[in-house]
Symmetry: C2
Subunit: 252 residues, 2 copies
């Protein structure tokens, strides 16, 4: 059967996460509805991974199979005409039958947007407002302890049920432009709530003026109660899912 | 009486324009309500000018007088706590008693955001999607005919009642970054719907493959029926109101 992958973008604010759930409107339920209108032979969609309620996407990858080949460009136009305004598809292409949106993925890249100024603005977009001045150098020092393969139990939701806690973090870094701080993290996989808890811990370390080494101690404790809060999903966006190995030179 | 000016930002989507009107929710009505909660001695607010329904702001200037001096920083915090999410104030400062938000203004700067690609994206923000490829060089040639002092009757709404039709345009230019085109126009004043009609005319010239000189002919006709449509307000933002002369070197 012909197989296609697509890049799905969304503003997650009005959805109960990406994955289909009974009695909830999710990204996948809306996507499936739109796809079904176009081609009834499509039985299911496979996402690269779940995103929590309220989390956004610029790069979610979804694959599906059809009975007959489709014209990707026409399908793209049609689906963007049907989907709600807060979901769009930026690309559709045919893929090899061995491709699997979740299992073939080598890494995921997330960004969290922090606005670091005294006043809110209607132009801040999806972000977290932090009024106290943040020290980028200290933050990046804290984050450096996360790089590499570790057990991330300290940063997972109590609700997560997957017993595997090891992740390889390839990159964890903040950059600043004006009063906007972008936290970017790339890993082979993420535990439930992991990015939001890492950002919450990073801000806790700054807020309580702990040493950057506190991040190392929290990581090594493998104890969720040592970490900071799971912060608002509104600043978080899945920006890319990679299907090639993450460039090794970035793993420092 | 002490006098203050503030910079008011808003997403205009949910408002019937900036100016107070009976039986309509406007930027000014919401602002007045918030201000009155903080200081009952403030009798009125004066805007630098009106913005149409659905038009946004990053730089609307508003002045008001109080009976007693206020602490600007505290007032700023308080008002942002009261205003709806789609209105914010970025700055408040005391001004000379001769300052007048509208009458002292030397120029207004507007931007219109055009997304020039085949597909919509949830990340386009407040903009107009134009699917056919646009030629930046031709567009800027068309716009060059607007620079200087002219009668802009061709670009005013039939509804406008102000008999004065002359405006001095200091700048009218498009810049492109990726697939985002920003049209920027600076003038001493604007007629009702003028910016949106200029953009509509610019796109009409491109769409119908007219010569860029068509803009000159339309301007000189002083006839609204010769110009293009008044385009959607959603791409339009008032970005600055200037109280110094616009730098002359830009007037080419």
């Amino acid at each position: 059967m012909p197989k296609y992958s697509m890049i799905v973008e969304y503003i997650g604010t009005n959805y109960s996460g990406s994955q289909v759930q009974p009695d909830a409107v999710t990204i996948q339920s809306e996507l499936n509805k739109a796809i079904c209108t176009l081609d009834k032979s499509i039985k299911k969609t496979i996402f690269s991974g779940r995103t929590d309620a309220g989390v956004h996407s610029k790069g979610q990858v979804v694959h599906f199979e059809t009975c007959e080949p489709i014209v990707a460009s026409r399908f793209l136009n049609s689906i963007n005409g049907i989907l709600p305004n807060d979901i769009s598809v930026s690309k559709i292409e045919e893929v090899d039958e061995r491709f699997h949106a979740q299992l073939s993925a080598k890494y995921r890249r997330y960004q969290y947007k922090i606005v670091n100024r005294n006043q809110r603005s209607v132009w801040d977009g999806h972000s977290l407002l932090v009024r106290e001045p943040l020290d980028l150098k200290r933050m990046n020092e804290s984050l450096s302890y996360l790089i590499g393969e570790h057990d991330f139990s300290s940063f997972k939701s109590m609700k997560g049920t997957n017993p595997a806690k090891d992740c390889i973090v390839y990159k964890a870094e903040c950059t600043k432009e004006g009063d906007i701080i972008i936290f970017e993290i790339v890993a082979n996989r993420f535990l439930y709530n992991m990015v939001r808890t890492i950002v919450g811990t990073l801000l806790m370390i700054e807020h309580e003026k702990l040493k950057p080494e506190a991040m190392k101690e929290i990581l090594e404790a493998k104890d969720r109660t040592k970490a900071g809060p799971t912060i608002s999903p509104d600043g978080l966006t899945l920006v890319e899912v990679g299907y090639e190995e993450f460039p090794a030179m970035t793993l420092n």
